[in-house]
């Protein structure tokens, strides 16, 4: 379809970024212990996910870690069939954004359900722990 044209291969670049988690590392520490906690501002009470070190509502930096109830409903979902390079080795996965009774929304995979069962409005529960690769993570399961 498209012709092959003369070209030069560039020098390759491989980059792995070291992302600082110093100010919010407790998030992953709690996940490893099987707990899902996020941040609440001690000054104005704003509950935030993703967790933050600085409150976007009142600009205070005095935050506490609170455990979520984690129950909610699917607000949007998709089954990812065509996957990026770093997920090529995995089977297709389902991503949901769930609206939690805690007053937050969270994006994560849903596990333990057939793709055909997932729908908007489905009741789900948030879980925390380690992935098969041993990385701390979180996911939804049908409630």
């Amino acid at each position: 379809m498209w012709k092959s044209w003369p070209s030069i291969k560039s020098k390759p670049v491989t980059m792995e970024f070291e992302i600082p988690t110093n100010r919010t590392h407790k998030f992953w520490d709690y996940l490893e212990a099987g707990e899902f906690r996020t941040t609440r501002c001690n000054s104005c009470g704003t509950l935030t996910f993703p967790p933050v070190a600085d409150c976007v509502n009142c600009t205070d930096s005095d935050i506490e870690w609170v455990e979520l109830d984690g129950r909610g409903e699917v607000a949007a979902f998709t089954h990812v069939i065509v996957r990026p390079t770093s997920f090529q080795e995995r089977p297709p996965y389902t991503i949901v954004i769930a609206d939690l009774t805690d007053g937050l929304k969270i994006l994560a995979w849903i596990e333990g359900s057939e793709m055909t069962e997932v729908e908007v409005g489905m009741k789900v529960q948030l879980k925390a722990g380690k992935t098969v690769d041993g990385e701390p993570s979180y996911w939804f399961v049908p409630e």
């Binding site: 498209w2 044209w5 560039s10 993703p50 996957r83 990026p84 991503i95 994560a108 995979w109």
Partner: protein, 388 residues
């Protein structure tokens, strides 16, 4: 602020352009734009260069492309607003002239997306959100972002996969008439619905293609346009911009893009017009669902009624409001940095009554056109209203 006119436009062929490097590709749009405006390189005082970059060899693509095109010495900036980079560059050039800083300014958008393989490109643009919370553990992809919106729209309004397919069929119909388009052939319901699943409910034919391309726009002050004897200046009547959260989980719902609503209201207000006044529009259809969201966000259709507009042919040439009659991002192609300038190219041609095929020239009543350019998943939005 001074009145500003579009006085020259240029467009490259969009596609897998392994026959040219990024500078040569940029020049394919720059040269016809200069000829169209009857100016030469040294006349251009300022260049806003749009590209997302990071997917090809150059770190400073604006400088490399400007040198090749003969703009060395002009004021130069690279603009990035994801897939709305072209509009960010247009806006920058517009302000440059409107403010009185320059009399002649150029916005040029270029993207070279095929120098890396497709899974790597999926990896790059899958990170077009909030890396740690959407990509690292969950492998979001760009189609997946819009698929999330599609799932919510389908559940709330009963939008179907066939409705989405109708958008693709319309896009291909006009792409087939556009010599710059990547896909110059029509498609049908069976072909769209049987194409492979990318991120449910979006299939291959619901997605705009990864491709290479460039588009350029020259802007001038009223005095300069007069001095150059420009026959049909196309005036910048209104511009609006907005943005939204990086994390999709912080959005209130997934039924529309709030940034599109806000940006369009600002543009309508500045222009003193409403959606009912427009003769033609180009909206950001990176995926078929995005075109439906745009109709509702921009006030072309009531909430949940966009699919009806497409089904009833209201957005075809001869319909109530023709939309994306150049094939849109879907069939024309979406070299991300070039798209915003490509929209201005198309609407300028339409307002001049110079569409390349008479079959896709819209009838002009009010001489008003709207460009809607989204970056990411409503992360950025620019709306531009042009008037002949």
């Amino acid at each position: 602020m001074r009145k500003v006119a579009v006085i020259g436009v240029g467009h490259s062929k969009f596609g897998v352009r392994k026959d040219v490097n990024l500078s040569e590709l940029t020049y394919e749009a720059v040269k016809p734009a200069l000829e169209d405006a009857t100016v030469s390189m040294p006349d251009i005082d300022f260049v806003a260069f749009a590209t997302v970059g990071g997917m090809y060899e150059e770190s400073l693509p604006a400088v490399v492309a400007a040198e090749y095109s003969g703009f060395t010495g002009a004021g130069l900036v690279r603009c990035e607003a994801a897939c709305a980079s072209g509009s960010a560059a247009f806006y920058t050039s517009y302000l440059n002239v409107a403010s009185g800083m320059s009399d002649l300014s150029m916005a040029v958008g270029m993207e070279k997306m095929t120098e890396v393989d497709t899974p790597t490109m999926m990896e790059m643009i899958g990170r077009a959100g909030s890396y740690l919370w959407e990509f690292h553990n969950f492998g979001m992809t760009f189609p997946a972002y819009y698929a999330l919106y599609a799932s919510a729209h389908m559940a709330k309004y009963g939008t179907t996969e066939e409705d989405l397919a109708e958008v693709a069929i319309k896009a291909h119909k006009y792409g087939a008439m556009n010599p710059h388009a990547r896909f110059q052939k029509e498609t049908d319901m069976d072909q769209v619905l049987s194409s492979f699943l990318v991120a449910w409910p979006l299939k291959l034919y619901d997605c705009s293609p990864i491709c290479d391309g460039s588009a350029a726009v020259i802007l001038a002050s009223e005095e300069k346009a007069k001095e150059l004897g420009i026959d049909t200046p196309i005036w910048v009547k209104g511009v609006g911009h907005s943005s939204d959260t990086a994390n999709l989980s912080k959005r209130s719902d997934f039924l529309g893009l709030q940034a599109s609503v806000t940006a369009s209201r600002k543009a309508y207000k500045m222009a003193g017009v409403g959606p009912g006044d427009l003769d033609v529009a180009n909206v950001h259809d990176c995926f078929t669902i995005a075109e439906l969201l745009a109709y509702e966000d921009l006030g072309f259709a009531e909430r949940g009624k966009a699919a009806e507009m497409v089904r009833e042919g209201e957005t075809e040439v001869g319909g109530r409001l023709p939309v994306n009659v150049d094939g849109g991002l879907k069939a024309k192609g979406h070299p991300i940095g070039a798209t915003g300038c490509s929209m201005i190219y198309e609407l300028t041609k339409q307002l001049r009554d110079e569409a390349d095929s008479r079959k896709r020239q819209v009838p002009l009543k009010n001489n008003l056109a709207l460009a809607h350019n989204v970056g990411g998943t409503g992360h950025y939005c620019y709306v531009t209203i042009l008037e002949r």
